[in-house]
């Protein structure tokens, strides 16, 4: 998309269109997994004629077709991988059914030799992607809602007040607006009601009331930090956040499946994140960092993570807009696992996109981004390191590569040499991974897939081939208008025509596919 800005960088239109032809043409040829040599892609190959190029090039790029989704969180769980996984599981089951091996150990040993026993054990027990590794951070906590006396002690200076009625949040908000309640009292009542309502829908109104109080409180009192900490910690306790795990960086762990989740835990956790969003402004750095860590942990929690993605991205906008440097310099403390990095990076919202690149860079390289030159050499160095230290741990490699992908997201390189250098490094990593993308070891083909996609995205972004690709597909347009007419005609016709419509649609579909292919061949 942005590649159109860079047409001037790689003027060799002929060359790139060859590649596109090749990509689009590759439907029915056999798959090969090696990446094309850089020299065949970048301008140094300009001298080659098109014919010569096609003759020499035996590579096939069918896997690059979906390069656009490189950064999507589920990019590797695509259909083809699912098929391969299914195949792998079938193969495995056959091992078991033929009973060639006597003991489980023997099977494991044999499998371990060729495909890596860990991965296959996981496959065998559960073929679904995310269930292999679990992380549970929130639970149905037994923590009790603090009572009025505790709250009084926390918030009130004057302690002989009794209040225990069920006031509704709107009325309370009304009184606050007119400034009819002293702040100390308001704070105690409001936090009490907030804790009580944590699992239901009125909670966000109480949070809004709390925010109002904090803003007034900020100017008049100096123990706000302490109160904020108290509210944050109590809420964390109420959603069952495992305080013992706070001390160690996030790691994914294997656990047995837990008992059923109470439905209101989701709501509680979402309200907790909303509450953190409000408290963040009024906290000191220690509490802020704990909030960021807790938010990240909730995100990777298998039970509630997926429901909280949106609220997480909303929360993360605060540290990003309020104190980005603090976040950057501490983000690596959150977790050392590249898998966690990718989950966090893929859950940041659109408005954080520029910043995401910086976070990804810090996580990938291990230090903060400085200037373009030193950044580039750090990236290269790190790429060398990860390929050297990979040691058959392809899952880690996969997530490292994806983090790298985020770090160079939409990046345009100043010079062709830089692009060449990075592409060459990617190609080297790809070559060090033995086997093809059809290999039984799934993590291996996933990482290869990922590298291939990244390779193509970097290439497209920095050359003029993307507009060329678009032009070819655009040229397919004329058929489209006819179809639209037909559609409207069908829509306005009466019900008896409905049958007809689907029939004609099918016919159009077939004819169209044919046209499409011819257009590509042209």
């Amino acid at each position: 998309m942005n590649a159109s800005n860079n047409i001037s960088k790689f003027p060799d239109l002929d060359n790139s269109s060859k590649l596109i032809d090749h990509i689009l043409d590759s439907d029915d040829s056999e798959e090969l997994d090696e990446l094309p040599d850089i020299s065949s892609l970048v301008p140094s190959a300009r001298a080659q004629s098109r014919k010569q190029y096609l003759k020499n090039d035996s590579s096939n790029s069918s896997t690059y077709r979906w390069n656009i989704d490189l950064l999507s969180s589920t990019a590797t769980i695509d259909d083809s991988v699912a098929k391969r996984r299914k195949l792998a599981v079938q193969n495995l089951l056959q091992y078991d059914s033929t009973q060639t091996f006597q003991t489980g150990d023997e099977i494991d040993e044999l499998i371990g030799k060729s495909v890596g026993s860990n991965v296959l054990n996981v496959l065998r027990s559960n073929p679904i992607y995310d269930d292999d590794l679990r992380y549970e951070y929130c639970s149905n906590s037994k923590a009790r809602v603090p009572d009025w006396n505790t709250l009084k002690a926390e918030c009130l200076k004057d302690n002989d007040l009794e209040f225990n009625e069920g006031i509704i949040p709107t009325t309370f908000g009304d009184l606050l607006s007119a400034k009819l309640v002293p702040l100390d009292i308001a704070l105690s009542i409001c936090s009490l009601q907030f804790f009580r309502s944590l699992g239901d829908t009125t909670c966000s109104e109480w949070i809004a009331n709390l925010e109002k109080i904090f803003y007034s409180y900020k100017s008049s009192s100096n123990n706000l930090n302490q109160i904020v900490r108290f509210i944050f910690e109590t809420t964390a306790d109420m959603i069952g956040i495992d305080l013992a795990k706070r001390q160690v960086p996030i790691q994914l762990e294997r656990t047995s499946a837990s008992e059923n989740l109470k439905s209101n835990l989701k709501i509680k956790v979402i309200n907790f994140l909303k509450c953190c969003g409000t408290l963040y402004r009024f906290s000191d750095d220690t509490v802020r960092f704990e909030m960021i860590q807790d938010a990240c942990r909730i995100l990777i929690d298998n039970q509630v993570g997926s429901f909280c993605k949106w609220q997480f991205s909303q929360f993360m906008e605060l540290p990003i807009s309020l104190n980005p440097d603090f976040l950057i310099s501490n983000i690596h403390k959150v977790s050392e696992s590249p898998r966690v990095w990718v989950t966090i990076l893929s859950s940041l919202s659109r408005s954080c996109q520029k910043f995401r690149k910086k976070i990804a860079f810090t996580l990938f390289v291990g230090k903060q981004s400085k200037n373009d030159d030193s950044d580039f050499s750090s990236l290269c160095q790190r790429l060398d390191e990860i390929s050297a230290s990979c040691n058959n741990d392809y899952t880690t490699l996969l997530y490292q590569i994806r983090t790298f992908g985020y770090a160079v997201d939409e990046k345009h390189f100043k010079t062709n040499e830089r692009l060449e250098c990075l592409l060459e490094k990617l190609r080297k990593i790809d070559l060090t991974i033995s086997g093809s993308t059809d290999h039984l070891l799934l993590s291996r083909c996933e990482v290869k897939d990922c590298i291939h996609r990244l390779f193509m995205v970097l290439y497209y972004l920095n050359t003029n081939s993307a507009p060329e690709l678009e032009r070819i597909i655009e040229s397919d347009l004329p058929n489209n208008n006819k179809q639209k007419d037909r559609y409207f005609k069908d829509k306005t016709s009466n019900l008896s025509m409905k049958e007809n419509k689907s029939f004609s649609a099918k016919k159009v579909k077939k004819g169209k596919k044919k046209n499409k292919r011819q257009a590509y061949k042209r």
């Binding site: 979906w66 999507s72 007040l161 009542i189 659109r350 678009e470 179809q483």
Partner: protein
């Protein structure tokens, strides 16, 4: 969006790689500012609630995420996508019209309008949860429509000359009452095989009830925001005035619990402020002059002072609830010259007056009044200087 991207997305759909096409949309939303054509937004809306697509799958999650991102980017919301009009611009149309997700499966090609969807939800169907998650997003769109688009979308839902207004009010109120009958899914007529009819209703739980009530109340507020009013007062014989009288009529038919639910969910809205004035003025039979803007509270309060109760018992209860919400909203809408003493005495007067009536079913509003009184009492006793 250019047609190359459309081609990629639709090729994925065609090849049964739906999650893949959603991935592309997610990618576009998270890295570019390309506006998403209406047809894909409608696709996500459909996928969220269509019974042929399973609940709690990755597809649902992606659709939710995409729609939320669309809402977040509020300056570029494509309101056409959310209207039930099918005359879309070229850019908003898919390339491949024949794909069923754009044609007979699509929610917007069904024979329904927006109010039909709400009516379906108010019958508490088994898939209420799915529809709720869609409506959460839809409400945000309508809120932005009211704030930035002059309620143009809501006007479309209301039809020419507000012909849907009556129906809309009835349907919004059905969110507060128990369902009368089961309703067919909006997709029922277009599905290849009819969905299995389950007798089991959706959640009759507290959570379902309160979320539906919240939806109904918010929609009423959005309709209220759309209706043209006078400069300071709601002008007689206008649609806005008519709307308030209809609400008053419907409201008086709810039972005590439902009435509490109703006012509780109106929140701090302008509708709460105006409706409570309407009910009060009608109850004591004075000329109805409803302010809908910030006003001099003291003046208004003296006009309404609770000297006597309406004769009718039902009206008396209504009156009390209206007082509670009027006092509440008056606090918000009032200006600096707000008379705290007057407010306090009014509150006390009201409380003692109703304490003597021995009416049944006014526990909730009385509890709220008491809370307010207790709080104000405490504040007075403690340190008046603290109250800035």
């Amino acid at each position: 969006m250019n047609s190359a991207l459309k081609a990629i997305i639709e090729l994925c759909i065609e090849e049964d790689l739906l999650p893949k096409s959603l991935d592309v949309l997610e990618y576009l939303l998270s890295t570019t500012s390309i506006p998403i054509p209406a047809c894909y937004i409608r696709m996500c809306i459909t996928l969220l609630v269509h019974p042929e697509y399973p609940t709690s799958s990755n597809i649902q999650e992606s659709c939710n995420w995409i729609l939320q991102q669309v809402v977040e980017n509020r300056s570029k919301i494509n309101f056409d996508a959310w209207s039930f009009e099918n005359d879309l611009s070229d850019n908003d149309m898919p390339k491949e019209n024949y794909l069923k997700i754009f044609s007979n499966q699509c929610l917007f090609t069904q024979d329904v309008d927006y109010w039909d969807l709400i009516a379906y939800m108010s019958s508490r169907p088994p898939d209420l949860e799915r529809w709720m998650s869609l409506m959460d997003i839809w409400l945000r769109i309508l809120e932005i429509d009211a704030e930035e688009n002059g309620s143009a979308l809501m006007k479309k839902y209301m039809g020419e000359d507000l012909c849907e207004l009556q129906d809309a009010i009835r349907i919004c109120f059905s969110c507060f009452t128990l369902p009368q009958q089961t309703m067919e899914s909006p997709f029922a007529t277009s599905m290849s095989k009819a969905p299995a009819k389950t007798e089991s209703r959706g959640s009759n739980s507290f959570e379902g009830t309160s979320r539906l009530a919240n939806l109904g109340a918010k929609l009423l507020c959005l309709i209220w925001a759309m209706l043209p009013k006078g400069r300071f007062f709601v002008v007689h014989l206008t649609d806005a005035f008519h709307f308030l009288s209809k609400l008053d009529e419907r409201f008086s038919k709810l039972n005590a619990k439902q009435q509490d639910l109703f006012f509780g969910n109106l929140g701090a809205s302008n509708l709460r402020y105006c409706l409570s004035q309407y009910i009060l003025m009608k109850g004591i039979g004075i000329g109805i002059n409803i302010r809908h803007t910030r006003c001099e509270f003291t003046k208004q309060l003296t006009q309404l002072l609770p000297t006597s109760l309406p004769k009718n018992k039902i009206r008396q209860k209504l009156h009390l609830r209206a007082w509670v919400s009027f006092l509440g909203s008056a606090l918000r809408e009032s200006d600096r010259n707000f008379d705290k003493e007057l407010f306090y005495t009014t509150l006390k007067q009201l409380y003692t007056m109703y304490q003597q009536t021995e009416l049944v079913g006014i526990d909730r509003p009385m509890a709220i009044l008491k809370d307010m009184l207790v709080l104000l009492d405490i504040s007075k006793k403690l340190s008046l200087d603290k109250i800035v």
